[in-house]
């Protein structure tokens, strides 16, 4: 305990000294966050300095082992670091699918060589990763994917198409599910492969959303050659890696978004609410949910301190968030309406739109959730 106290004191002092003032302002939107990468566009010197300083201590990934670029912190120290960062409102120094998704999968399934090669550059924000899971006709039925990966002796040959690839047009590398055995049952015969988005044969096309934004892409693979040592885990057993990674994706998502400790919707829109008693009623109930949900997160955290992550819990948690985002108030009274309230104008093709529905598009969990409905 004494150690933790001194760790806290040291951390506090270091953060005070090293976290630039503007990195203590809330992140306005995804484009305002630091994503790193080969062609990283930093919004400011402060943003780059903050990422580099944290990376130098391994604190972009505080709980990863130091040999892979991590901070080597214990769970208690990691929590302390996050508390101290929260105390001063310090931004996350590096948003990264490499950290939240690929990293944990590599730590569990990667070879020592793969870990040494990929993890440190993730930790330093040098390579930006994207996720090649969804396919046009697979949808929620992820395992029915058809992207073909053939063993050509000295390399793999990948052909196919992915869709809803977040920021594929900005990513350096992709972790990708491909089918290596078409004769096996659909959950078998899938492999988990990594390759450079600069490889010949890779192309991307942004998808224009009704919001006017294009965070997602279609991604095409046309005779892409991939070195043999870039499959993670066993060939044909990529589904295990995929599921493990999804567990971490869900955790990440369940920690994002609306609720959190970000305060009350009604408080933020008190003037709008004042003139609409029915909206006030809806929002009061929404705020009850928004305040209750973090309590559930806390319980999950307490649980994690004891056991393995409760996947079903996270799945449900995520469902609830999706539900809240999508229809926080009542049928047909979604939160996007709130935006419409603030001003009916200036929204044309650039309006924020129902961006929250995006989570729905990525939803791959309904079956497990439904199964969870009837505990045996």
């Amino acid at each position: 305990m004494a150690d933790l106290d001194s760790f806290r004191a040291d951390t506090r002092a270091w953060l005070e000294a090293n976290c630039p003032a503007e990195m203590r302002e809330p992140v306005r939107d995804e484009s305002d966050a630091c994503w790193g990468g080969r062609n990283a566009k930093f919004k400011s010197d402060a943003q780059k300095a903050w990422m580099d300083r944290m990376a130098a201590r391994g604190w972009t990934v505080p709980d990863w082992p130091t040999e892979y670029g991590g901070g080597g912190l214990s769970p208690a120290e990691t929590k302390t670091l996050r508390q101290e960062m929260a105390r001063i409102g310090a931004r996350n120094p590096l948003h990264s699918f490499g950290i939240s998704m690929l990293g944990p999968a590599l730590l569990k399934y990667g070879t020592e060589e793969q870990k040494k090669r990929f993890l440190p550059e993730i930790a330093r924000g040098e390579i930006r990763w994207c996720q090649g899971y969804s396919e046009p006709n697979a949808g929620s039925d992820l395992a029915s994917l058809q992207t073909k990966c053939e063993d050509k002796g000295d390399h793999w040959l990948v052909n196919g198409q992915k869709v809803w690839t977040s920021y594929a047009d900005k990513a350096d590398w992709i972790f990708c599910l491909v089918r290596t055995d078409f004769s096996a049952p659909k959950h078998k015969g899938i492999s988990f492969i990594l390759f450079d988005m600069a490889s010949p044969g890779v192309s991307t096309k942004p998808i224009l959303l009704i919001s006017g934004n294009s965070p997602f892409c279609e991604t095409f693979f046309d005779d892409v050659q991939v070195p043999k040592d870039q499959v993670v885990g066993e060939v044909d057993k990529g589904w295990d890696v995929a599921k493990y990674l999804l567990g971490h994706e869900r955790e990440m998502i369940s920690g994002m978004g609306l609720g959190g400790n970000s305060g009350s919707l009604g408080e933020a829109f008190a003037d709008v609410v004042a003139q609409d008693p029915l909206l006030r009623a809806d929002i009061a109930r929404f705020d009850v949910d928004a305040l209750a949900c973090p309590a559930f997160d806390d319980e999950i955290c307490r649980h994690r301190a004891q056991q393995a992550p409760p996947r079903a819990g996270h799945g449900r948690r995520r469902l609830e968030r999706a539900r809240m985002g999508q229809r926080p108030l009542e049928e047909g009274q979604g939160r996007p309406r709130m935006a419409a309230h603030q001003g009916q104008f200036d929204r044309g093709r650039d309006q924020r739109g129902p961006a929250r529905n995006r989570r729905q598009a990525h939803s791959r969990t309904p079956r497990s959730l439904t199964h969870a409905a009837l505990p045996q």
Partner: protein, 371 residues
């Protein structure tokens, strides 16, 4: 779908359906004018066609050259407009403004152009971000033979392309409506693209001079006119919302019948079937409420205002449900610009706000019922 129409109404519906399904379609109107970033946000040629077919005169008395039909018939046209998201001055010009002009001297000045599908008229009522016609702070001061108008208005649909703007202002005698011509001195109009790609306008009246001929009805008699205008607009918007929601549902049901997941059509999943069944019921009820409100308006019934609010509230909630279910059941592609379903969501947002949203009208129902 539709109801138990008489032969004339059926014919009218067929006419409207044909026009909106072809020339008025999303490809030919909404996307076209959106993609060219048209400053008006709608097609004048189609408006002219409305005139040629007589649709602009549905609510105009036969003596004034119109068809002398009623709000039920206007609703039939608006439901088809709603289905196709056809950007059109029909609701504001041919329903709400025509209702305002009824029985006034201004008929002669403005009806011919409206009947011909040439004149576009706008309504400048709202002053805040939400529709609250109880709060009108724009001022009309006596000045010489007429008035000087001052104040700000917003959410003036088609305001940037209107030839005439009916503006509600407060004079010493009470609320009065004035018909202000385009380009009047002291009138500043700023076009703004709305969520559905239509163009609304913010307007500033900085001592705009109008003479007494510009008064719509009586000086100080604006509340009565406004009541008729709003009833007409709200009932009409309800029909447009019902059409919009119905088409969103139809597109979604089509999709449910095509899209396979886990080896079966998603329309075979019971959970989706139940939601579709619920939505279908809601749309039928919303449509009935809109028609009932229009029948009461056509009968000149005392209690029409209550049913108008019921209709707008019910249609608003139902249309919002329809587009939300529609986008969600389409999955990811529902949010892409490539598919039309997202355009229904955007239009729903604007149309729900227009003339007061579902909360406003449910609250109004409660207040009318004394609680």
């Amino acid at each position: 779908m539709p109801l138990y129409l008489n032969d004339d109404q059926n014919m009218l519906r067929d006419t409207a359906r044909e026009l909106m399904g072809a020339e008025g379609s999303i490809a030919n109107q909404l996307r076209k004018y959106r993609d060219m970033e048209c400053k008006d946000g709608f097609g004048h040629a189609l408006w002219k066609q409305f005139g040629e077919l007589g649709l602009t005169g549905i609510l105009v008395d036969e003596a004034d050259g119109g068809l002398g039909l009623g709000h039920v018939e206007a609703g039939i046209v608006l439901e088809e407009i709603g289905r196709n998201l056809t950007p059109s001055p029909f609701l504001v010009t041919a329903v709400a403004v025509v209702e305002a002009l009824r029985g006034t001297k201004l008929r002669e000045r403005w009806l011919p152009g409206i009947l011909a599908g040439e004149t576009v008229a706008a309504l400048a009522i709202d002053e805040g971000a939400k529709h609250r016609p109880e709060i009108i702070e724009a001022r009309a001061e006596r000045s010489g033979n007429g008035f000087r108008l001052s104040g700000k208005k917003q959410f003036v649909v088609q305001g940037a392309s209107a030839d005439v703007i009916l503006v509600a202002a407060r004079s010493d005698e009470g609320i009065t409506l004035f018909a202000v011509e385009k380009g009047a001195h002291g009138l500043d109009v700023e076009g703004v693209r709305l969520a559905d790609s239509s163009i609304g306008a913010r307007m500033t009246f900085d001592g705009v001079e109008v003479d007494s001929d510009a008064v719509v009805g009586e000086v100080g008699g604006g509340e009565a006119v406004l009541k008729r205008v709003l009833n007409a607009g709200r009932a009409g918007a309800s029909s447009e919302l019902v059409g919009l929601g119905s088409q969103a549902m139809a597109m979604t049901v089509d999709y449910l019948k095509q899209r396979k997941q886990f080896g079966k059509l998603i329309g075979e999943f019971q959970a989706l079937q139940h939601r579709a069944a619920h939505l279908y019921s809601e749309l039928e009820i919303a449509r009935s409420a809109a028609i009932k409100a229009q029948q009461l308006l056509d009968e000149g019934a005392e209690d029409a205002e209550l049913m108008v609010s019921v209709a707008k509230a019910k249609a608003g909630r139902t249309s919002a449900l329809a587009v939300q279910e529609g986008v969600q059941m389409h999955g990811g592609i529902g949010m892409t610009d490539e598919y039309d379903i997202g355009l229904y969501m955007k239009r729903d947002r604007v149309l729900n706000e227009l003339f007061g949203d579902a909360n406003y009208h449910a609250d109004k129902v409660a207040r009318m019922k004394g609680y």
